[in-house]
Amino acid sequence: MTVTTNIEPVKPKSALARLLAVVLAMASRPSGLVGLVLVAFHIVLAIVSPAIAPYDFKELSAQLILNSPSAEHWFGTDNLGRDVFTRTMLGGRQAILVTTISTVLAITWGGLLGVLLGLVGGRLDEFLMRLVDAFLSLPWILVLLLIVVMIGFTPGVLILTLGFFYGIPVIRMARAATHDVVALDFVTAARARGESRFTIVRKELLPNVLDVLLVEGAMRWSWMLLAFSSLSFLGFGVTPPTPDWGLMISDARSFMSFAPWAALAPVVALSSLIIGINLSADALAKAIGIDRAQQAPV
């Protein structure tokens, strides 16, 4: 097979320029654009909402129970008389905060361990992979619930727990990506030169594995949001009266037949964020040029 002779125009690219190029590539498709807009919207909302919320989220009012949407209360009120609009605006803050930190945690520890295992191989690798398989066979929600119930559901515990458990499938993925890269000649060339292990990992492996990890990170984030809101729904996520979409939906369930607005608003909010992340992750993968085989969602 002969090597192709296609040449692209010469343009040195700084890191910032490359980042901008990727974002623009993502936005060039309609689905990517929608995804980016949704994610950006929610992040901005999470940051500024306390400043612009019209009401106090915990302000109860016996008279205003389950009022339908009106001029004073755009989304109506819930079963305790609280303003649904305010609570919806604030409902994502805890979720986004917790899941963002735990995503970074998961990718970091899972990625590092995965790369290490992919390099080292041997007995340790085999044993740890069996352990990883065993961990992955546990029902995730059981484990999360158990820990959260027994130890307590503070944001700290949630971050650590989610970060740990969602990092385990990342190990698998980083290890596979490392295997792919290690087989390439430029890594062999570095070895033959006598570069130190550390230099090889830092200079040859990581830059090539990082792409895959980035896309995986985006997907992880959406799964974590799902898990977090499921936990809240079951009553084990946030502590009331902190507003949270999952909890709001759970509360509003009993009144859905005559007061659907209390459930609809958080449903739309939560769904739009998760869909936005997924669309962005897909667009990111295409922009970077990764051929993402569909993997199981764990």
């Binding site: 069996r130 352990l131 398989d133 065993a134 961990f135 992955l136 066979s137 546990l138 029902p139 995730w140 929600i141 059981l142 484990v143 619930l145 158990l146 820990i147 119930v149 027994m150 130890i151 959406s222 799902l226 809101s229 499921s230 729904f233 079951l234 999952g246 939906i249 759970s250 369930r253 859905m256 037949s257 659907p260 459930a263 449903v267 939560l270 769904s271 998760i274 869909i275 992340i277 997924n278 669309l279 993402r292 085989a293 569909q294 993997q295 199981a296 969602p297 764990v298």
Partner: protein, 316 residues
């Protein structure tokens, strides 16, 4: 090939053993033990000691593990602290119910997903594909409790066609059950279908771009023959594993659906067990679900082994 099968089986068993170890160690690692958890504030003094003695909690961990593990193999998971009855009795029926839910949803979801996935791939990037793919993304990303809630809203509250919660008792005969659980089945099937659909679609698109499909075109093979003889076998083969993985994963997450619909399955039992700190029950359910997961994976691997000509003819 027999060697491969045996190796795979051994691996499966090893994984289950490892899982049991992890579960045991995990539960041990949690603050307190079965007795403190159950007795709660009353966990002190002689009551605590008696409780501990009754459950043999003074014995070393390894012994307790061995007893528990060996018992589990025989289907004996010990006694539920809360209900004072053997766990296996309680769990048995709930397990059946969850399996019913899973199996029915799979029977509906998997064939549908495969058909839709192939359909979406063949009409790639055109309106049929865009509709299907968008619907799939929505079903996949929106949390199950949301879809379930919306389903109840539409079909139970607004249209009044189907019951929103399950009212038949847990040990009711099969037939009574089925008519009651249509909505939960739809809810689970929706998520399942969405995931599997996307996988099948990607796989078919990849195969359609392969050299051998191009060759078939250049050989003058008509389009539909290419699809059925050259594309589908190669596209569906790698998805067997992913399908099994997805089903297994989703079964672990049926908890939420069971809570929303008040379905008397393993998931709801699990929530109650956790809530009441019934650790023995929790351990048992974890082990059962994990074994189910490993079993499904094993089945998928073996199926792939048999169906894939490359593996079938591999000289070990």
């Amino acid at each position: 090939m027999v060697r491969l099968i045996v190796r795979r089986l051994a691996l499966g068993i090893l994984t289950i053993v490892l899982v049991s170890g992890i579960i045991f160690v995990g539960v041990e690692a949690l603050p307190g033990d079965t007795c403190t958890a159950y007795l709660g504030r009353a966990a002190q003094g002689t009551r605590l000691d008696n409780c501990r003695r009754d459950f043999g909690l003074e014995r070393p961990a390894l012994t307790r593990y061995a007893v528990w593990a060996l018992g589990a193999v025989h289907g004996d998971f010990g006694v539920s602290l809360k209900r004072k009855t053997p766990i296996s009795e309680i769990v048995g029926i709930r397990f059946r119910n969850t399996v019913i839910l899973g199996v029915t949803a799979s029977l509906v979801g998997v064939p549908l997903a495969i058909l839709l996935g192939i359909f979406a791939a063949l009409w790639r990037d055109r309106p049929p594909d865009l509709w299907v793919s968008t619907a799939a993304i929505c079903a996949m990303t929106i949390p199950e409790f949301v879809t379930s809630t919306v389903l109840i809203l539409i079909f139970s509250i607004w249209l009044g066609w189907l019951p929103g919660i399950v009212t038949t008792p847990p040990d009711a005969p099969l037939f009574e059950f089925l008519s009651d659980i249509i909505l939960p089945i739809i809810a689970l099937a929706l998520v399942m279908t969405a995931h599997i659909l996307r996988m099948v679609r990607t796989s078919v698109i990849d195969v359609m771009a392969s050299d051998y499909v191009q060759m078939a075109q250049l050989k003058g093979v008509p389009y539909w023959r290419i699809v059925f003889r050259h594309v589908l076998p190669n596209a569906l083969l790698p998805t067997i594993n992913l399908v099994a993985l997805t089903i297994a994963w989703l079964l672990g997450g049926t908890v939420v659906i069971e809570v929303v619909f008040n379905y008397p399955g393993l998931g709801r039992l699990m929530i109650q067990a956790i809530f009441f700190r019934d650790l023995a029950m929790v351990q048992a359910i974890a082990l059962i679900l994990a074994t189910l997961y490993v079993g499904l994976n094993l089945f998928a691997d073996l199926l792939t082994l048999v169906a894939n000509p490359r593996l079938r003819t591999m000289k070990t």
